[in-house]
Amino acid sequence: MLKISNLSVTVEDKLILDNLNLEIPKGKKVAIMGPNGSGKSTLSNVISGKFGYNIKKGNIEFEGKDILDCSADDRAAMGIYMAFQYPIEIPGIANSSFLRTAINSIRKKNNLEPVNTRSFLEEINNIANKLGLDKSFLSRDLNTGFSGGEKKKNEILQLLLIKPKFCVLDEIDSGLDIDALKVISKGISEFSSKTNSILIITHYQRLLDYIKPDEVHIFNDGKIIKSGNSDLVKVLEEKGYKEFC
């Protein structure tokens, strides 16, 4: 589904992704683990089309199409979604209004009618309920004053609503308490299917206990230094990154 080939990216002349090769096949869950500052969020941002990165070489293909020249919103419309490591607060925009605008923007770009208001409200109420988010979170301003965990839940709420083909979850598990981690893992499992793909970025084994990845890659200095199956997570947990770097 997503194929990254020979990708090198700099920020302010600093090389952050270094000739990276990575493929995430349809229906698969791929995990990336790597030390702080190794370039994981940079990779997520570059996939979703954030400003400020210089692509030195290489390309990213999504369903066979090179997406590096597409805007972030076009990528969203194609079916790419990123759960932010640090979701942005936007005072003045009600969460539910934002959710509807988002879903309708994507639908419009795909030549679909706007959602029916009533079934939309029903759906977001349902999802919020599943995630243990009180209804009031839908009328509150987008992420504004949400706790760390609530923000992450709101990212998963959007994932379940938008139903992209591919998602990057950038440290969706950081800052979550034990119960929240369970709820969020359940949400991700619910999303996961044979027709979509997930890239999970995490520092911890616990999330991967709930969502068993098909492949695990260890990331350092902007490239993959070791690949394997989920057993690799245990080795890493025991020995740390030193073993590999």
């Binding site: 954030k50 919103d73 942005i88 923007s105």
Partner: protein, 425 residues
Amino acid sequence: MYLNDYLDKLKKNKLEESNKPWLTSKIISDEFFNSIFPDEKVEEWKNFNIKSLIGNKLKVLEKNKNLKIEKINRDYNNILFFNNGVFEKCLLEKKLINKINIYKTTEYKKKDKTILKKIYSDAAKYAEKRLSGVSDSKTTKLLSLNALLSEGVVIEIPNDTVIDNQICIYNNISCQNTLVNPYILIIAKENSKTKFLDLTSYNGEENWTNSFYEIYLEKNSNFQMANLSTNQIKNVNTSSYNFHLEKYSRLKFSSINKGNSKKDIRVFLNGENSKTSLKGMLISKHKESNDIFCKVTHNAPNTISNQEWRMLSSDNSKTSLNGKIKILKNAKKSTGSFFSKTLLLSEKAKSFSKPELEIFEDEVSCSHGASFGEIEKEKVFYLQSRGLSKRDAIKYLVLAFINELKLNDDKLNENILSETENLFC
């Protein structure tokens, strides 16, 4: 007739009898005619150059064209209709017809002198001498001009009158190249409660509307006014508002200010426990200059004022705001606040905001702040990553910025939406 010729004629003939009871020939001295426009040396006017904005060949309104009333926007159920600054017709629902009295100023003077006497005999306290025709300092010359050229109207809301429906003061501007001078004195009597929408609808071009509103709120009255203009783009507006509040009265004033426009708003909290909330949005685009001077004077104990402003400047335009809170001796336990936020939508857009406090009493509390910012790229990206185009994302963020103001008036909110759209045309 052109304004210049009219003033020349006035100067030669001297003023015999004026339509304003307080406008005397003493004011219309030679000095008055020498420099009729305030210049940047006057503090309140330093951000707004009226001379550069109005054409040289400005006419004075001579005779009002007869207007077909059907043409008026029927969006409003209750209308006090003014055509080019002249009161024309009262279009009220049956149940309201006897609840509001409208007089010519001369008529009103004969009927009841108390309010006029209060305002004009103690002008320093009541209005800092900002009364049409009372003083001829540079700052008040436009008010004197207003008085010279307009008869004006008194709207009286009798004691204990409560009206829930909004009443629209509909100012239709249909002339061209003309100086229009609406003058409205509103008197909200004791225990009354009313809501007004002050709407100026421009259907002509190159006009200068020089409005003056004098609003007197008696004891325990509750008064709301929302202010807005439509299609102002090729016209210039200057307006002055004086609000006088007696004890336990309430004033809520909200406004959308756009185009080349200057407002001078003064609120005098003269009675104890009087309270005001002032909210406003300043929007400028192209090369427009939009300026507000707003001053609240706390003259009595336990008075409260809150000012909340938002400014939005795009292109090469400028918004400016000078907000003052003055708390006089003996206005114990009063609180005043002033907050403004600006969003600059282009690199060349400018904005100034200057809160000022003058406090002569110890037992008071005041707060103020002004912030300036641009659209944050991180926010735009977040919205884009959820499918909104860059343009839509920016528009959405502008709306978010405005929403914080919580204007509580459907007409104003509607208008803001369309103005925001216009910024992106």
